[in-house]
């Protein structure tokens, strides 16, 4: 087998889908075989992903690597084309990692286990496909492919209001993806050549008006996914009803698709429009951070609290994307990976707590720290990671966004000042709601009522193992972020270089009527030196 020409990406993308075909034929013993089988598939696929990147990926190359392209429909120039660059490679890794752990987290699932694992593996393929594909139409197919398992996972294994939540989820996201389809078709058919190839699409020159329309369409679709306020209300419902493993996937990977696509398409393919829309992204990001943090504080349901905290954290991704600096963009990517890990761990712990207390209402909890010291310790650690404690990945990501945005030359001083203050207010609000949450669950005298009804047992080794796996990279990236940033640095550098060229050109072009982003710029003294 030739390692260099082996179709790595196709293999890792399709392996889980191929493997789930065999699930119906496995012996039915209450899901015991099928869960080992799924875990093995997940693990093998993850190992293959790591091997593929280890053998063939070169950090110093900014462009696509491990490219595979097979013609599917020649008349349409539709290709099965996969490839990764610095942007998608960490997210593919994250997908493999989180999905494998989610499979392990799904151990206690007893309702229709075969179908459950079938969907989990199908989702695996959909998620990797979204990050790895380099063809617009293929992207759309994967995007939709991954919706169906999520819908079913929500509507069959969810909580009491699962049907409502699942319907809301599917209407929102499918509605959003219509915009992707329309925009993709418009881009494909524009100009002389009809193509769905992303690289070719990025090279096409679109008139500004069309760019703005396309940008708007993509933004709506990805705003649903990320989510951006006010298109976020599906998320608390979906997260409020999902079971722990689905939760981990929703928070760990699905939200990242929105951020990834924003960078790949809005920023990468429509840079001119980006210079106009960027201030809007910053404002939306600030709203996300502060508004969601406040809502999270007022929430009385544990899952919804964490769900809103995810929304709040995604605000930093938006601001990083809009920062016009490599540092900010790197911060945004790091924040996606970091939140993928932290969000997954928090949601897993929420599930573990719920398994014991059988309630999500904070008022009914309290004082359970004594009975569950390990869960208490892990919950505290992950909450501290989520509130961006230094030494953990969230801090580095937020810091990079802060510094990147604060030193960006694209915005006026006042605009930056206000935005940075909003972000910093988020930094105060995050510990308020997270620590209040910890206090209400674990601290205080033992809750007699709860103890009477539920037997509170501490974490089992499987649960400690899952959290330990998630904490290793969280702390690792926190201590030495270069480990991760060097993977994508070349790619983000290339993207920002192109963006700043466009920005300068655009600023010159519209000197008479300045675009919003080019408001009178107060240059940072450090840069002018």
């Amino acid at each position: 087998m030739d390692l260099a020409t082996f179709p790595w990406l196709t293999t890792v993308t399709l392996l889980p889908l191929a493997a789930c075909v065999a699930i119906p034929f496995l012996p039915d013993d209450n899901g015991k075989t099928v869960r080992w089988y799924s875990l093995a598939v997940g693990l093998i696929d993850f190992v293959l992903i790591v091997a593929a990147f280890y053998l063939n990926y070169d950090f110093s190359q900014p462009g696509l690597q491990l490219v595979e392209s097979y013609t599917w429909v020649p008349q349409l120039d539709l290709k099965w084309s996969l490839g990764v660059d610095g942007l998608s490679m960490p997210l593919v890794l994250l997908t493999g990692f989180i999905t494998t752990l989610a499979t392990l987290a799904a151990w206690p699932v007893t309702l229709k286990p075969k179908f459950f694992y079938f969907l989990l593996l199908a989702m695996y393929t959909g998620q990797i496909g979204v990050f790895a594909c380099q063809d617009m139409l293929l992207f759309f197919l994967f995007w939709e492919l991954e919706l169906i398992p999520v819908y079913l996972l929500l509507s069959i294994w969810g909580g009491k209001k699962r049907l409502y939540a699942a319907t809301k989820f599917i209407l929102y996201t499918a509605g959003g993806s219509l915009f992707i389809l329309v925009a993709a078709l418009a881009m494909a058919f524009y100009g002389d050549t009809i193509t769905f190839d992303m690289t070719a699409l990025a090279e096409k020159v679109y008139p500004l008006r069309m760019q703005l329309l396309l940008y708007g369409a993509f933004l709506i679709a990805y705003a649903v996914k990320l989510p951006i306020i006010p298109l976020h209300t599906w998320l608390p419902d979906a997260h409020g009803e999902a079971t722990a493993p689905v939760h981990m996937l929703l928070a760990g990977i699905l939200l990242k698709m929105g951020g990834y696509a924003l960078i790949r398409m809005n920023l990468g393919m429509l840079p001119e429009a980006h210079t106009y829309f960027a201030p809007v992204l910053v404002i939306l990001g600030c709203v996300n951070i502060v508004y969601a943090a406040l809502t999270s504080f007022a929430q009385r349901s544990l899952k919804r609290k964490i769900a809103y905290s995810s929304i709040s954290h995604m605000g930093f991704v938006l601001i990083g994307i809009a920062s016009f600096t490599n540092l900010g963009l790197s911060g945004a990517v790091l924040q996606m990976v970091s939140h993928g890990l932290i969000g997954a761990s928090l949601f897993f712990l929420v599930g573990a707590t719920y398994d014991r207390t059988h309630t999500l209402i904070l008022d009914e909890m309290g004082g359970i720290g004594k009975k569950m010291p390990k869960i208490f310790a892990m919950f505290t650690t992950c909450s501290l990671a989520s509130l961006a404690l230094p030494g953990m990945s969230g801090f580095v990501a937020e810091l990079m966004v802060f510094v990147g945005f604060a030193t960006s030359d694209a915005y006026s001083f006042t605009f930056r000042l206000i935005a940075v203050i909003c972000m910093a207010i988020g930094v105060i609000l995050t510990p308020i709601y997270l620590l209040s949450m910890l206090r209400e669950i674990f601290y205080g005298p033992e809750n007699k009522e709860l103890l009477e009804h539920q037997e509170l047992v501490d974490a089992e080794p499987r649960e400690v193992f899952i959290i330990a796996c998630l904490l290793v990279p969280i702390i690792g990236f926190g201590f030495y972020p270069k480990m991760l940033t060097q993977i994508y640095d070349a790619t983000t550098q290339k993207l920002t270089d192109r963006l700043s060229q466009v920005f300068v050109a655009e600023a010159e072009l519209t000197q008479g009527s300045a675009p919003i982003a080019a408001l009178p710029v107060l240059r940072a003294p450090s840069v002018s030196q």
Binding site: E144, K168, I170, L171, G369, M400, A406, L435, D458, D489
Partner: protein
């Protein structure tokens, strides 16, 4: 190998100082999380492991300190931490005079506190966990003091805050502890909000996180006019907000008294000797930036002076021995900050060092007292820490009493104890800059002497009141009333509960508790005795006539001929300054004796005559109450409103849209059948169809 090589090896491995305790914390922490019960049983081995690691770090620190005293040049090692394109952030460590001094102070206090912990926490089920936290804290604090740039300071700044959070909430089943740890973290985050903005602003302006470079470039920018002086002042004040929170300066001091809910060893280590002094340390590190901006120096000086005065006035009326010491800490930190603000750089740091030793000893002493009291009144902080139940303890706990007395004399500024030299130097330098600030500091010194002796006298002298049921009943009632008030009126009837509770207490105490307190075990009194030595003697390194301390620690960039100042030392001026501060301290002590020892003056009667002032002090100037209404309830209300908007308007519109669809009948089918996936399937199918169709044509 010659001596230069060995020295460089010493510096190359200096990173071990914070890493050794980290190792201890990680090993024990991992053990706790994976084999909780087994590790919890390994009490002594875990403690010995962690104490020997901090001991090794201490020896290392002394070696570094000695080599710095010998005149080894400062040493800095850096590595690249983050890079994005041509942007780099470096991390590393730096060893200079200030860092070496702080290393020694932190490791010695941490080492002694850890020995003390063995006695104090002997019966606590969380013994091992406590050691792991202590070790983690020591590691973060040591990392903080060797940080080479502002960003790394911020990193460790947050980490020590986290350790403080974990340790204040160590007894997490106590509600006050749960509230206090959150309050501490959030209040500190408010300060860090300013610090973060300040760091960003300074980086934006100067393009560096390095203290010296920031100072230089900022001065240049202001001088050339590219940055207005007021802007530079705002940046610097934002940075100063960090120390305001960490060093418990007004208006962000509210967390420190509540932090006393944590076990006493950490009150000594974190909330008296080391972490709270980190604010003063940061001001010292930021000196190259601050000293060129007069506005900031003024703000710093007045903040410090006001805090010193306020803390002292509140300390007068406290009955909880630890709360009293906490307000005293706040007041002493105010002195240090004021010293920094008036430009008395080395005096401020000198007081930091002396205060670290004598205040750690006072806190450990109070812990010893509480330990002794618990054998009489039981494990109830409301009773065991209240000075109204103490008295006459010198008879039962002589070592604790005499070391506490040494600490009291040191903090009052009685020569030749350590506090005299450092406080006198601060007051002397302040007088040269601003007589008003000096007056505040001088009055505060008198109040300090008064409340410290009030504390000493009511704890150790007189007769033991611990078995007085009347006082116990009163205290219990007051505590329940406080709790009842915090739950809101009508939540419970305090009177009923009081009776029950006291009844319970009676049964409890009649059987299981001794009638006399006892002296603490050796593990606890050894650190007290060890700390008594520097509390008495360490001031002698900084006497005005031979100031070795100032020769070693002086503002960066200021190669002052210290010896000359020593030669120009003016005896008459020293006599005047020292005389006036000793005089007011003595006055405070005498007044205290009259009120609490001989009872010539009735303290209660005075409190009655100046009722409003008394209440102001007792209620901590009502600042907690104001914050509770404005910030705590305000933010809750705001959050509730935002959530309402989210549910009713944002989500309401969505559901309304759904309803409209339902009513028009289009959506009815699939919603009722619950098969909305058809929708997705249709989209999916349409695309596939499109693909195939275009493939055919």
């Amino acid at each position: 190998m010659n001596s230069v090589d060995t020295l460089d090896t010493l510096y190359q491995y200096a990173w071990l100082v914070p890493v050794l305790p980290l190792l201890g914390a990680v090993v024990v922490g991992t053990g706790l999380i994976s084999y909780g019960e087994a590790t919890s049983k390994l009490r002594q081995p875990a403690a010995i492991f962690i104490v020997s690691l901090i001991g090794a770090a201490m020896v290392f620190s002394f070696a570094i300190f000695w080599s710095q005293v010998q005149g080894h040049p400062p040493y800095t090692a850096m590595f690249e931490w983050v890079s994005a394109g041509d942007f780099h952030i470096q991390m590393g460590y730096t060893i200079d005079h200030l860092a070496a001094l702080m290393l020694v102070v932190v490791t010695t206090v941490a080492f002694l506190v850890m020995i003390y912990t063995d006695g104090y926490m002997a019966h606590d089920p969380g013994y091992v966990r406590f050691y792991a936290y202590l070790s983690l804290f020591s590691s973060s604090m040591l990392g903080l003091v060797i940080s080479p740039n502002l960003l790394q300071v911020y990193v460790f700044w947050e980490l020590v805050g986290m350790c403080s959070y974990l340790l204040i909430g160590f007894w997490y089943d106590r509600k006050p502890a749960a509230d206090a740890c959150q309050k501490a973290f959030v209040t500190n985050r408010v300060g860090d909000f300013g610090l973060l903005l300040g760091i960003l602003a300074l980086f934006w302006a100067t393009g560096s996180f390095d203290f010296e470079i920031m100072g230089e470039r900022l001065t240049d920018l202001v001088n050339t006019g590219s940055l207005s002086a007021s802007m530079a002042a705002v940046f610097a004040i934002l940075v100063f907000l960090g120390p305001v929170a960490k060093s418990a300066q007004f208006p962000l001091h509210v967390w420190l008294p509540d932090a006393m809910e944590g076990p006493t060893p950490i009150s000594a280590l974190i909330h008296a000797a080391t972490m709270v002094a980190a604010g003063v340390f940061l001001v010292a590190r930021m000196y190259p930036v601050f000293e060129h901006i007069p506005t900031v120096m003024t703000v710093i000086a007045y903040t410090g002076a006001f805090t010193a005065f306020m803390g002292a006035t509140i300390a007068i009326t406290q009955n909880d021995i630890k709360k009293g010491l906490a307000f005293s800490t706040m007041s002493q930190l105010g002195y240090m900050v004021m010293a920094m603000g008036v430009g008395a750089y080395s005096a401020g740091l000198f007081h930091l060092m002396t205060h670290a030793y004598f205040k750690a000893m006072l806190f450990l002493g109070s812990g010893s007292v509480i330990h002794g009291m618990e054998s009489v009144v039981g494990h109830d902080p409301a009773l065991a820490q209240d000075m109204r139940l103490m008295g006459g303890l010198r008879k039962y706990m002589p070592v604790t009493a005499y070391t506490f007395l040494i600490g009291t004399l040191a903090i009052c500024g009685i020569p030749p104890f350590a506090g005299f030299w450092s406080k006198d130097e601060i007051l002397g330098s302040t007088f040269a800059v601003s007589p008003l600030l000096w007056a505040v500091g001088w009055v505060t010194a008198g109040i300090t002497a008064f409340y410290m002796f009030r504390m000493y006298l009511s704890t150790f002298e007189g007769t033991f009141r611990g078995n007085d049921d009347g006082i116990r009943r009163d205290l219990k009632r007051a505590q329940l009333q406080r709790m009842g008030m915090s739950l809101g009126p009508g939540a419970m009837n305090p009177q009923e509960l009081t009776l029950d509770a006291v009844q319970d207490d009676h049964d409890d105490h009649g059987h299981s508790h001794a009638h006399e307190p006892h002296e603490s075990p050796l593990a606890m009194i050894f650190p007290l005795m060890a700390l008594a030595v520097p509390s008495v003697l360490i001031g002698l390194v900084g006497t005005p006539f031979a100031n070795y301390f100032e020769a070693f620690i002086h503002p960066p960039g200021e190669v002052e001929a210290v010896l000359e100042t020593a030669e120009a030392f003016d005896w008459s001026e020293f006599a005047l300054m020292a005389g006036s501060s000793v005089a007011i301290a003595t006055a405070g002590i005498i007044l205290s004796f009259l009120m609490y020892s001989t009872k010539v003056i009735d303290a209660g009667a005075i409190a009655q005559t100046i009722k409003p002032l008394y209440n102001l002090s007792l209620n901590k100037w009502y600042i907690d109450d104001i914050y509770e209404v404005v910030f705590v309830q305000g933010s809750r209300k705001l959050a509730k409103q935002v959530l309402d908007i989210d549910i009713r308007i944002v989500d309401g519109l969505v559901n309304l849209a759904g309803l409209v669809t339902l009513v028009t009948g289009e959506g009815l089918k699939y919603l009722e059948n619950g098969r909305a996936q058809f929708y997705a399937l249709i989209v999916f199918g349409a695309v596939l169809g499109l693909v195939l169709l275009s493939g055919v044509t």
